[in-house]
């Protein structure tokens, strides 16, 4: 019998709850299978590699603490992105907003080193939030006023932010005590966040992230602004029809997501580095990895707490296998990329029903 297999793709009317939960999990597993092939090609036993990643990230107190350290910025940025993505405003520039947040906080810390910690640290968070929000304001206004695609404009703003940081740490802010390194001077003790025991976990930022995740959830589901965000995201035309202000909603979600990304930057300089460094030193792409965090959480800010820890663990585990198995740095970027592709692709299976059909040749 001659014939061929055909795929039939049909739109699902209702998405069952279990499927909504299952797809990200399955997507993640499938991504791991694909990456296993890559490990194999690099001459590494994938089982061993995954074991090392898992043990590196979650297998020791040190690993767990480092995973938490990386999860903090991912959580902050990720929860902000869920708000923007819910309104179908695709803020891709969180990396830049994070850097600007870090820069603004550094400016305050360097300008007023003698302020007491109770005033200086909150001040740094506040100005960091404002800096991140300001950075997001540019693509927000361009989108709302001139319909410029926010994906491009917010992404381009990342490079401007990155060069701004470079300029500052190589130029006017270069530390006198840093012997030619592109760092600013070290912050005064009152501009440094307290840490948990001997780890690098700057717990005030962690608490802030968890609290904000809960607030973001309440914002989306319990407030009238959240209602506007959800309506705008699902059906912009209906939002206009219902008399909602599109400009206001776009500004709101962009400023919030940008501001929260700025907070993540403050946490990094005040909690980890205690100075501003070159851009890659501040953030190994947290702003981009957080996109995966938000998507893996299916745009639920509470789930972001979990997915941020997962992706944080992946970053730490990735470091572990680089050292232990001699894999190139790029491995972990490929890892992230593959996961994002599968998570985005997994959406296809929740929204559509896919059937195989055998068709006989006429």
């Amino acid at each position: 019998m001659r014939g061929w297999l055909r795929l039939r793709v049909e739109k699902r009317l209702a998405v069952p709850r279990w499927l909504e939960f299952l797809t990200p999990v399955l997507s993640l597993l499938l991504a791991l299978v694909v990456i296993a092939v890559l490990f194999r090609a690099l001459g590494v036993d994938p089982i061993v590699a995954y074991q090392r990643i898992f043990r590196g990230a979650f297998g020791s107190l040190y690993g767990l603490s480092e995973t938490t350290v990386k999860a903090i910025p991912l959580m902050l940025v990720g929860l902000g992105l869920t708000i923007a993505f819910r309104a179908q405003v695709y803020n891709i520039g969180a990396e830049g907003q994070l850097l600007v947040g870090a820069t603004c906080a550094t400016g305050l810390a360097l300008a007023c080193p003698d302020l007491p910690a109770w005033a200086l640290l909150p001040g740094m968070f506040l100005i960091g939030f404002l800096g991140g929000a300001l950075w997001a304001l540019v693509p927000a206004l361009l989108k709302a006023r001139f319909r410029v695609d926010e994906v491009l404009s917010s992404l381009m703003m990342v490079y401007i932010a990155s060069e701004l940081v470079n300029y500052l740490v190589y130029g006017p802010w270069k530390g006198a005590s840093e012997r030619g390194f592109p760092y600013t001077d070290k912050f005064s003790p009152s501009a440094q966040l307290p840490r948990l025991f001997r780890t690098r976990i700057h717990y005030p930022t962690l608490v802030l992230a968890v609290v904000l995740a809960v607030l973001a959830y309440l914002l989306i589901h319990r407030t009238k602004w959240g209602f506007e965000i959800r309506v705008t995201g699902e059906n912009p035309e209906a939002a206009r029809y219902a008399g909602m202000n599109y400009l206001k909603t776009v500004l709101l979600v962009m400023l919030l997501s940008g501001g929260v990304a700025g907070l993540a930057g403050v946490g990094e300089v005040a909690g980890i580095h205690h100075r501003l460094r070159y851009p890659q030193g501040i953030s190994p792409g947290y702003g981009f990895t957080a996109i995966i965090v938000a998507w893996l959480a299916r745009l639920n800010p509470l789930a972001v707490i979990v997915t941020a820890i997962l992706l944080g663990g992946l970053l730490v585990g990735g470091d572990a296998i680089q050292v232990a198995l001699g894999l190139p740095v790029a491995t972990i970027y490929i890892f992230n990329g593959v996961i994002l592709l599968f998570v985005l692709g997994g959406d296809l299976f929740t929204r559509y029903q896919i059937r195989l059909e055998w068709r006989r040749k006429a």
Binding site: K224, N235, Y241
Partner: protein, 512 residues
């Protein structure tokens, strides 16, 4: 045995049935087009014309029925199958790549030279231009072309793929009058060359100007197939809009009060910045229904959107209860008590949100539904329970996403939201289109109940029966203008049908 039709039948569709959720789009439709004929498919919007042709072109699959092409039984699963059978379709809206050239668009997707695929096309393009008068510059980019030229490219594209049967979906809707004349010339030459042309339309003038035969569809069924020469405009108009009254509505005489909506000399542009509404004036009073009849695409949508603040007007003014509301934003009009049931249901709701949430789509920012910044879920839920019962919305629960409801229930959700707190002015566009008999009747009763409560109702509908039954006065719109306003008691189907089709407004009595 094969059912073998006569040789001169290019395409035959037998007893085609197509169901959509909540609607029967094609109800045992049989249709034939002969080789070399120009066949008009006439009917109002929603009559099932486009669905039928989409089935022939392989976009939809019929639930029942058979298709024969040149006497052979065929199964058309995709446009690719249709093209290989010699069927081509030109959609109402152009489906070309704007940044590519004409020649590139014509050969797009065809096997051939990998590099510079458009070279091969040039010779044939010249041939088409000579043979059918389809002249276009092969190097022009699509975005540079007018709507008429883009349509020509679509026709060329179909011919290039060997189309012998060409389907044109409302080919004149985007064209200027002179472009329409050119198109008619092209169609006649194609028919003379032995092509079969099927064109979908709802304009009577075009049927008489172009077609050899005409098939009239109404509510998913074939009403008649006739030689164009054997019929006349009033006859076709009557067939198209139907004669028999389906419902008997208990209707009290209207108690018209003072003027609520006053529109003066309004001008509105469409999406392509062409005039869509021209110098339109009318008044709607409290407790009356003014019906606007007309075939879709004659400016009704733009008029309504301008009245609810979704589209700017360029000239003229609108007043609600004496207050100037010209070009006010939607929120201001909502606060004034203007409610709007949009023609496209998707505009009026958010499919993924629950019934309860859709019921507060406009009132979410007022007490009791929000207190300060927070939504009051208890109040929202109580409100939903009340409206679901009052408007008999059939839904598994108030938390069900509205996209899972049937068309009739979706419309009830919208109407419940728009009418539950006695609006001053209710604007309803095509409120019953696509609904089954029961839902239609329910919704018409709701509109009458609104009228009896003293709401001024502006009803826009293509369903002439509906307009005649519900309205106190009827305005007919054609090409952006109001052809006349008459009282429902004086109106007859024939006259209105003629006015809807753009025929002269002779012997139309004006009732202000």
């Amino acid at each position: 045995m094969l059912n073998e039709p006569a040789m001169d039948i290019a395409v035959a569709m037998h007893s085609i049935v197509k169901r959509f959720p909540g609607a029967l789009a094609n109800d045992h439709i049989s249709f034939e087009a002969r080789v070399g004929e120009i066949h008009a498919l006439l009917g109002e919007n929603g009559a099932g014309k486009t669905t039928l042709m989409n089935i022939l072109y392989g976009i939809y699959h019929p639930d029942e029925g058979e298709i024969y092409v040149k006497g052979r039984r065929v199964t058309i699963r995709s446009p690719r199958d249709a093209i290989s059978l010699g069927i081509g379709m030109v959609h109402q809206h152009c489906r070309l790549v704007p940044t590519h050239t004409v020649a590139e668009n014509v050969v797009l997707g065809l096997p051939g030279d990998f590099l510079f695929p458009d070279r091969a096309a040039r010779r044939r393009l010249e041939e088409f231009s000579k043979k059918y008068g389809l002249s276009v510059d092969p190097d022009a980019r699509i975005w540079q072309l007018s709507a008429g030229e883009q349509q020509r490219v679509e026709i060329i594209k179909a011919l290039y793929r060997g189309a012998e049967i060409l389907i044109l979906d409302e080919p004149t809707s985007m064209l200027t009058p002179s472009e329409i004349d050119e198109l008619m010339g092209v169609i006649r030459r194609m028919a003379a060359e032995g092509h079969t042309v099927i064109f979908i339309t709802h304009k009577l003038d075009e049927v008489f100007a172009m077609s050899d035969r005409v098939t009239v569809l109404r509510q998913g069924r074939v009403v008649a197939t006739q030689g164009t020469a054997d019929t006349d405009k009033p006859g076709l108009a009557r067939l198209m809009v139907g004669r028999e009254v389906v419902f008997r509505l208990e209707k009290k005489p209207a108690q018209a009060g003072q003027a609520v909506l006053r529109v003066k000399g309004l001008h509105v542009l469409n999406d392509r910045a062409l005039p869509a509404v021209q110098n339109v004036s009318f008044t709607v009073s409290a407790g009356e229904i003014l019906g606007i009849a007309g075939v879709a695409g004659n400016g009704q949508r733009e008029l309504v959107e301008a009245l609810v603040g979704l589209r700017p007007s360029t000239q003229g003014s609108a007043f609600v209860k004496g207050q100037d509301v010209t070009n006010q934003p939607p929120r201001a009009l909502i606060e004034q008590g203007v409610c709007y049931v949009p023609g496209e249901r998707l505009v009026g709701l958010v499919p993924g949100l629950s019934v309860a949430e859709n019921l507060i789509l406009k009132d979410y920012c007022h007490a009791p539904f929000s207190q300060g910044a927070f939504l009051n879920h208890a109040a929202i839920s109580a409100h939903a329970d009340r409206l679901i019962a009052q408007y008999s919305v059939t839904t598994p629960s108030q938390d069900t996403p509205v996209k899972l409801l049937s068309g009739g229930n979706i419309q009830r959700v919208i109407l419940a939201r728009e009418t539950s707190h006695a609006p001053i002015l209710l604007i309803a566009a095509h409120p019953t289109s696509g609904l089954d008999v029961g839902a239609t009747e329910h919704i018409r009763q709701l509109l009458l109940a609104q009228r009896d409560q003293g709401t001024a109702v502006l009803l826009v509908s293509e369903d002439l029966e509906e307009v005649l039954q519900l309205s106190e006065r009827i305005a007919v719109m054609f090409e952006g203008r109001i052809m006349g306003i008459m009282s429902a008691s004086q109106a007859d189907l024939g006259t209105i049908g003629m006015m809807m089709a753009g025929a002269q407004e002779t012997s139309v009595s004006e009732a202000a």
